[in-house]
Amino acid sequence: MSVWLRLAPVVLLGLVIAALVWRLANPEDPTIRSRLAGKPVPEFVLPAAVPNKPALASTDLAKGEPRLLNVFASWCVPCIAEARVLDELKRRGAAIDAIAIRDRPEDVAHFLATYGDPFERIGADDNSRVQLALGSSGVPESFVVDGRGVISYQHVGPIEPGDVPAILAELEKAK
């Protein structure tokens, strides 16, 4: 066996390790590029989820100013953690509407009273029709909608404190 053949495993190992080090240094980008980004919000008219708050229709999302649309549910545990962050977003100027999925008015009211209520309008989507039309597979999920009713950004999963600057930037961009 020649020296080169005997050293081949070492060389191969070096290549593999280089590739793995590269991956560790450049983790995969987990953001999902929504297929709905750039598309108008599907048309819908939803009844109010709680008696003391206005209902939500797709036309409410096309009134000139960008808005954040949050898909949530009172039975969803990550939504509880997210509520705090949504309050923070509202304090920093974001206009937020919501769709409550498969929920009951009293549960939603309890959720808002306990964890905070940053929402201007909340629609009740009792059979997930609008959720499916939005291409949302779970709760919570959020969409940035520009003033013309076009979705510009989709965030899957709870918005975490670290995501606040990115969401505000997306809202700014959608103006």
Binding site: M1, V10, V16, L24, C76
Partner: protein
């Protein structure tokens, strides 16, 4: 106190492994005779890690939430068995299990090895200590399983519900035992290369470890495949997922090593190659652990991604494997050539076996890492899926399986007899299978058809080594080989049948409606809620019939609360002719539910084959151990009383 005891045991074990390494270096340099102390140290080190592992298990059983690991992975309401499984169903615990098995393997190596050159054993124990030392450092410095939480939380976070399954509770430990069993082969190879004693005695010392590790890997992969089949609810049994590949690669290397180490033990040939394979087999185990633990490749196995931990394991991997490969490059020139053999001989057949297995290993390895290379060099994202693996590795695997029929019939060194005559019967059976499949099922693909033919050829041929002599006087190891090779045929038959004959139906139906799949009529009878210890579920009742009799199946969608997750529990009816596999999916909001039905003829043969392969390996292991004992007995002078008793 329990956690502190465990941590102290772990520190002591780490210190002993350092001492073990130093002693072995001293022995290698000829400065000291470390034979006796190093054996004792290896045994005590193994015992200490066992104490640490026992402490961790105890903490999980008692749900001591002041320990961070318990709080993050357990829950007081969890069933007992999953509390135990929770101890290794997480990063820190699984690394502790890994190092425990590594140290115990070292202890058994020190206790049970006879008839190996004294120096090689001492140096191999040093290599084993060096391996363990790196993982102790990893545990103690970067992932302490005994870290406390202050204040302690009121309730733990639970275990991923997908993992709450009896099969899966024991899947990781089985694979780990297999992975780490290969570490001994690695250490023995390193020891033998350093001392230069690559000989038949080394082959015989290495063989039981390779066999044992290989049996466990086979069982682990078979169990993992069945788990994925019934728990994920996708109806498939192998997805070429990176983490699945991570367990397949060590198995392929161990299968090749298992065969080449036989050549080394029996004939003293294939020396350099067997050493290389021993190193590759454990390297693949480390690569597997790295891929799983770092979460580096996207996979259904959604473990936590932690680049820091990944870096640590990668550094260990580079250090150990790199050092071993360099050692190989420097030392192999000095190895003597083994005895020669002719073109038609058992040795040649095993060389072909090794070549094919190595090429398949290369294909899987390349396919698993290819997306990474492409993205690193060009930035393009792509994934390598089943079509690549099936079409590239499939035919080679079938070629290998076809040759398995021939190899065991050949004699060592040279074959002059007419050994191919008995193969006429299997050839006839295979030809009939081909004709029948062409007539009865002309529409199936060429790969499944080839699979059916190869299975029909190999199944009878695998038994020939028993038939050509008196089967009752055949050594147990030969029985083991025949059973394992039969298992290969059985598994291939299952895979081919599943690929060729599966019928699938997906539809949204209301209770009361009926679907047909294959020969079955399945009525969606009713829907009801169900409750378990820590989940609630929607359960469908399906009534399936084909002609006479009704079978009731109850697939579920389970909702877990801690953490919030939804899983599909498939309901599977197993019959001699196949499996009816049913999954209930989402409702559409108008009273209809998604039902997914499969009729899979003979699919269970896949796992039956896997179990047969493992049983074959076990028989061979027992057979070899009994023989080694029988051979060792007369040489010992002390047991003369026994000779008197037996006359």
């Amino acid at each position: 106190m329990i956690a502190e005891t465990g941590l102290a045991a772990l520190w002591l074990a780490a210190a002993l492994s350092l001492l073990q390494l130093l002693l072995s270096v001293g022995e290698l340099r000829g400065a000291i005779d470390a034979g006796r102390p190093i054996r004792s140290i290896a045994i005590i080190q193994g015992a200490l890690t066992l104490i640490a592992m026992a402490m961790l298990l105890l903490l999980f059983v008692r749900t001591d939430l002041s320990v961070a690991l318990v709080a993050a992975n357990s829950h007081s309401a969890k069933p007992f068995i999953y509390k135990l499984a929770g101890a290794w169903g997480n990063h820190e615990g699984s690394m502790l299990l890994w190092v425990t098995v590594l140290a115990l393997a070292g202890a058994v190596l020190a206790l049970a090895t006879r008839r190996l050159s004294h120096r090689t054993l001492v140096v191999a124990l040093g290599a084993q200590a060096a391996l363990a030392l790196g993982f102790y450092a990893f545990l103690l410095l970067a992932s302490n399983p005994f870290a406390r939480l202050d204040p302690a939380p009121l309730e733990g976070r639970g275990l991923n519900p997908l993992l709450q399954d009896p099969g899966l509770a024991f899947h990781p430990p089985t694979l780990y035992l297999g992975y780490v069993g290969l570490s001994v082969a690695f250490s023995l190879a390193v020891g033998a290369l350093l001392t230069g004693d690559v000989d038949r005695a080394l082959g015989r010392a290495m063989r039981p470890w390779v066999l044992g590790a290989w049996v466990l890997l086979t069982l682990g992969i078979t169990a993992g495949s069945y788990w994925a089949y019934y728990e994920l609810g996708w109806g498939g049994w192998w997805f070429w997922d990176p983490v699945e590949n991570a367990s397949l690669m060590p198995w392929l290397a161990a299968t090749a090593l298992l065969h080449s180490v036989n050549v080394l033990a029996a004939r003293g040939a294939l020396r350099a190659w067997t050493m290389m394979l021993a190193m590759i087999a454990f390297s693949m185990s480390m690569v597997g652990t790295f891929l799983v633990r770092s979460g580096i490749l996207t996979s259904v196995h959604s473990f936590a991604v932690d680049p820091q931990r990944g870096t640590f394991i990668l550094a260990l991997l580079g250090l150990y494997v790199g050092a071993a490969f360099v050692l190989f490059a420097l030392r192999t020139r000095k190895l003597k050539e083994g005895p020669p053999f002719e073109l038609v001989s058992r040795e040649s057949a095993l060389v072909v076996n090794n070549l094919l297995l190595t090429v398949i290993l290369g294909i899987v390895f390349f396919g698993t890492l290819y997306p990474l290379f492409v993205e690193a060099l060009s930035g393009d994202k792509l994934s390598v899926g089943p079509p690549y693996f099936n079409t590239v590795a499939g035919p080679l695997a079938l070629l290998l399986a076809a040759l398995v029929a021939v190899g065991p019939l050949l004699a060592w060194r040279k074959e002059r007899r007419q050994v191919f005559k008995p193969l006429a019967v299997p050839a006839l059976i295979a030809a009939s299978a081909l004709v029948i499949s062409l007539v009865a099922a002309p529409q199936i693909g060429w790969l499944p058809r080839l699979g059916l033919v190869v299975a029909a050829w190999l199944a009878p041929a695998s038994l020939l080594p028993l038939v050509v002599r008196n089967p009752w006087r055949t050594p147990l190891a030969t029985w083991g080989m025949a059973v394992a090779h039969l298992g290969v045929a059985v598994a291939i038959a299952g895979m081919a049948s599943d690929a060729a004959f599966t019928k699938e139906k997906l539809a949204a139906v209301r209770p009361g409606e009926t679907l047909s799949v294959g020969p079955w009529l399945v009525r969606f009878h009713s829907l009801a809620p169900a409750v378990g210890p820590n989940w609630t579920a929607i359960e469908a009742e399906l009534r399936a019939s084909r002609g006479a009799g009704v079978r009731v199946l109850k697939p579920q969608t389970r909702y877990f609360t801690d953490p919030v997750t939804e899983t599909n529990e498939a309901a599977i009816a197993t019959m001699p002719g196949g499996q009816l596999y049913t999954v209930i999916g989402q409702p559409d909001g108008e009273g209809r539910w998604q039902l997914r039905l499969w009729w899979k003829p003979f699919v269970a043969l896949i796992w039956l084959g896997g179990v047969l392969i493992a049983v074959g390996g076990l028989l061979a292991l027992i057979g070899r151990a009994v023989r080694a004992r029988a051979r060792a007995r007369p040489s010992r002078g002390t047991n003369s009383w026994r000779r008197e008793r037996y006359g």
